[in-house]
Point group: none
Chain length 210, copies 4
DNA sequence: AATGAATGAGGATTCATTCAT
DNA sequence: GATGAATGAATCCTCATTCAT
C-alpha cells in the first residue's frame, strides 16, 4: 500500500505519478524497472518516491488496483448480461469486451503482461491472487450453466474456469503483446472455444465417439 | 556452448559442476541466479567458471541439453508406441511418462519451469524454440489422428497441439513446482483431456448440443 | 559532460574533486588510471564518482575544459598582441607564455602530456580535435605573415603550423614532463625556430645555397 | 630477452611464433594485446608462452630486434652511399628507402607505430632507446655535412637530427598507419625538408631576411 | 619440456535505500 | 514534507601468472 503521503497528494500530482509509472512499466519489464526509471518518468525527486511508496512493488501493486477498477467499470455492461444468458454462449462477448478494453488502454494491458513474467516472490504471490480471483469468478458462471443444463454435470467447473482464464490472461495477453491483430486473436479464441465446447473427436452417426 | 576446457574436464568434476549448477537453478529462478551463486554451489573459483562457460546462459543452455537427452532416453519406449495407436488415446501415457521422468529427476524438471519465467532475450528465444519444437511434434500426431478419422477434420491441429503443449509444459510444470501430488496432477490432466476430447456441452438424446 | 549533480556540488567539494583527479592523472597515465585510483585521491565513495561523472573519460574531458579556460585567461595578453606584429617574430613570446603557464600550473600541463599518449578511441578523437584546433589557429597566423610578406608564398602554411604545433604540444610537453629546465627548453625551441625561419643550409656570399 | 628454450626451438616453430605474434601486435595495440591473443595467433599452449618468454614485453622486444635487423639489411645499400654525398641531399632517398621497407613489410612497420603509443614504463624506456639511437646516427651525418660545408656551423646537429627523426619515426609512421598514399606522404616530407633546408622567411634582393 | 587447468585480485558500473538539510 | 546527495555492496567479466601432471 502506498503511504498516506501519497494519498494526501493533490489529484493532478497523483495522476501524473500514476501515469508516469505506467509509462515506465510499459517501457520495461517489472524486473528491469529501476527506481531511477520511475522517478525519471514521473518527474519526482528520488526522496519523494520513498515518501509515497515502500518500494517498486508497492507502486506496481497500486497501479494494478487502479487499473483493475477501471477495467471493472469498463466491463460492467457485459458482466450484467451474464446472468441472463448461458455463460458459455456469452463468453465470446465477454472476451471481446476484454479485448476492447485492452485496445482502449493498451498501457494498462501491458502491465498485466509484465505481471505474468516476473519471478520476484511478491509478484508470484500476486499472480496467484489474480489467478484465484479470475478462476473462481468464471467457475461460478460455469456452475450456473451446469445448473441450467448447458454444461454437463460431470465437468469440473474449476478446470474449465482455469482453461478459460489462462486463455484470456496468458495466451491472449501474449498475442496482444506481440502485436497480433484482433482478427487473429479472435480466430484463435474461437477455435479454442470450439474445442472446449464440442471436443475434438469425430463421432459416428449416432453421436458416439469412435 | 561450454568451452572445450569444460568438456575436457575429468568426468567427476564435470558431473560435480553440472549437479552444483542444477542445484543453483533449482534454488533460484534463472534471473535471480548470479555467477556467485553458481560458483558457491559448484565449489569452483570464479575464474574457473569463465574457463568453462561463456556466461550464465551458456551454462543453463548446456544443462538443458543434458536434461533433454536424458529425457529422450527415458521417454523412448512410450514414443515408440505412438505411431501404432491413436495419439489422442495414448496421450495420457505419454503424459504420465513425462510425469514419471519429473518424479525421477525432480531437479531437472524445475529447470524447465524456470525456463518459462525469464525475461532475458536469450531465454525468450529459447522458450520460443522449445515451444515451436513441442507444438510441431504434437501437431503431427494430431494430424495423423485426423487422417485416421479419430479427430474431426475441422479442428485446427496446431491449436490442439498448442493446448496440449501448454498443458504439459506450463500447467503441469507449475503444479509440479508447487508440490502437488501425482494423483491430483493426473486428475487435472484427465479432466482437461476429457474436455478437449468431448467438449463441455451437454447434448440432447440425439447427440446435439442444446 | 559531468552530471548535474557534480555542478550542483558546493564549490569546495567540486574543487577538491578536481584537484584530486588532477593528482591522479599526474601520478599515472590516462590508460593506467582506474576509478579506484581516482576515488582514492578524491576521497569520495565509489558510488559518488558515478553520481558526478559518466566514466573516466567524462572526468578527464572536464578537467581539460577547466584547464583550457585557465590557460586562455593566462595567455590572453600575449594573444592580443598577435595581430600587431609579425607572428613569426612573436612566436617565441607566445611559446614562453605557454611555458610560464606550464610552470605556474605544472599539474595541468601534465594532463596535456597524458592526452597524447592514450590508445582509447575517445582519447584519440580528442587528440585529433585539439590538434586540428591548434594547427588551424597557427596556420591563420602563418598566412597572415605570408600576406604581409614575412613568410614566403611557396611555403605550405598548414605544414609550418603543424611543425610549430608539434613543437609545442609534443616536444616541449615531453621535455617538460621529463623535468628539463626552462633554459634548456627555451634553447631547444629557439634552435628549432631558427631552423624553421632560416633553414640549415650554408649560403655562398651571394646568398645562394651551395 | 626470450628464454633459452625459445632459441633452442626448431627454426620453423620459432618463425611461426614470431609471425603469429607480429600478427597479434598488428591487430591490436601493445596495451590491448593479451597473452591469450598471442597464444591464439601463435597456436601454442599457454604454458609454452611462459617457457619461451618472460612476458608480453619480452616478446615484443624480441620482435623489434628481429625487425630492426631486417630493416638494416634492407637499408644497407642506401646507407652505404651516405658518406659519399651530402647527407641533406641524400636524405629523401634514405627516407624513401624507409617507406619502401614499410610498404614491403607493413606488418613490421605497424609494430613501430604501436611502440610509440604505449604508456607502459618498459615501452617508454624502449621509445627513448630507439630515439637516442636514431638521433645520434642522424646527428653524425649532419655533423659530416657541417664539416663539408653544406650545413651551417651554427646549427645544432642534434636538434636537426631530432627533427628528422621525429619526422620519420612519428609523423610518417602515423600517416602510414592512417593509410595515406605514398604520394601524399612524400609531398609532406618534401615540404618539411624544404623548410628545414631553406627556412620559411622571405629574403630581400640581397638575400637578407626582412 | 610441454601442457592447459586453476586462481583470485582487480576493473567498470549499477542501484536500492538512507539521511542530512 | 521535500529534496537529492551519499553510500557501498553486488554484479559481471578479464587476465597474468603459476603449477600439477
Amino acid at each position: 500500500m502506498p503511504k498516506d503521503t501519497f494519498f494526501r497528494l493533490p489529484l493532478h500530482k497523483k495522476k501524473r505519478i500514476e501515469e508516469g509509472a505506467i509509462e515506465t512499466f510499459n517501457r520495461l519489464s517489472y524486473d528491469q524497472v529501476t527506481v531511477a526509471d520511475i522517478i525519471y518518468d514521473c518527474d519526482i525527486p528520488r526522496g519523494s518516491f520513498y515518501m509515497y511508496f515502500e518500494n517498486k512493488f508497492d507502486l506496481f501493486n497500486h497501479l494494478l488496483q487502479v487499473i483493475q477498477q477501471d477495467k471493472m467499470t469498463f466491463m460492467a455492461p457485459v458482466l450484467n448480461r451474464m446472468t441472463k444468458e448461458p455463460f458459455i454462449k456469452l463468453y465470446p462477448s465477454l472476451f471481446k469486451a476484454g479485448l476492447d478494453f485492452a485496445r482502449s488502454y493498451p498501457k494498462f494491458y501491458r502491465l498485466g503482461y509484465h505481471l505474468f513474467y516476473s519471478q520476484e516472490p511478491d509478484m508470484i504471490k500476486m499472480q496467484e491472487h489474480f489467478m484465484a480471483l479470475g478462476v473462481s469468478m468464471l467457475a461460478e458462471y460455469v456452475k450456473g450453466d451446469q445448473r441450467s443444463g448447458y454444461i454437463r454435470e460431470d465437468i469440473d467447473a474449476t478446470i474449465v474456469a482455469t482453461m478459460l482464464h489462462q486463455l484470456n490472461a496468458r495466451d491472449v495477453m501474449a498475442m496482444f503483446y506481440e502485436g497480433k491483430e484482433d482478427d487473429e486473436i479472435i480466430r484463435f479464441v474461437d477455435e479454442i472455444l470450439k474445442i472446449i465446447r464440442y471436443g475434438i473427436e469425430r463421432e459416428d452417426e449416432n453421436g458416439k465417439s469412435i
